[in-house]
């Protein structure tokens, strides 16, 4: 069997491939599925931002101090707390996971970097986001809510 040189091989393949689609991966079956995923992801992101903000305040840190402590960009921290469209980097997720003692897998889901495999986290996120209040210092109730949420995320 004659073996083509790499150049010959590529030219042959490019000519054959020219009018083809090449993608491999699952079918996206319905636009409605995508739309419900987008609504769900906003709830998760809101809970993610709230979690970070309350944790930081609970530890009496300004955003600058927290960003420095985590060794991440201040802009990224502010975007996360504001539930911005920006998705954090995997490195940031790991830093948060270590600091907050929450499994990185759960944070990947909350931040929108991974898909939730069940709806429970979405339901709990909605409850958490609704119950937590944007006050300067955490009240004892907020402190308890934060602890319950962290406890839930740490559960298997």
């Amino acid at each position: 069997m004659k073996t083509l040189s790499d150049q010959e091989w590529l030219r042959q393949q490019a000519a054959l491939e020219n009018n083809c689609y090449v993608s491999v991966g699952g079918l996206v079956t319905a636009v409605e599925e995508l739309q419900s995923k987008r609504v769900g992801s906003n709830v998760l992101k809101s809970a993610f931002g709230q979690l970070i903000r309350l944790f930081r305040r609970d530890h009496r840190m300004t955003p600058e101090e927290f960003a420095q402590d985590l060794d991440i960009e201040l802009g990224e921290l502010i975007a996360m707390e504001a539930a911005d469209q920006l998705r954090p980097s995997a490195r940031t997720i790991h830093k948060l996971s270590e600091k907050m003692k929450v499994p990185s897998g759960k944070l990947f889901v909350l931040s929108g970097l991974a898909e939730a495999r069940d709806s429970h986290i979405q339901d709990e996120s909605l409850k958490f986001a609704a119950r937590s209040q944007p006050l300067q210092a955490l009240t004892p109730d907020e402190h308890q809510i934060l602890n319950e949420w962290v406890k839930y995320l740490c559960e298997k």
Partner: protein, 70 residues
């Protein structure tokens, strides 16, 4: 795939070595490949278990039996 590799010595019992050899023959792979596959599978199952998933076998009648992964 990561370029640089390091060597590790592995001590196995006779039954363990036989299991390695049998699986290598069945899968048509080397011992190194087999053990690297085992490591990848272990890490994958561990990661998904940590995320709250469970690892099941399913028999022909579609009955699920959970595998407790240590």
């Amino acid at each position: 795939m990561a370029g640089e590799k390091r060597t590790m010595t592995l001590n196995l019992t006779d039954p363990e070595m036989r299991a390695v050899e049998d699986l290598c023959a069945k899968k048509d792979v080397s011992k190194t490949t087999l053990l690297r596959q085992a490591l990848r599978l272990y890490q994958l199952v561990e990661a998904r278990t940590e995320q709250g998933e469970k690892f099941f076998f399913e028999d022909a009648d579609k009955k699920k039996a959970e595998l407790m992964f240590l």
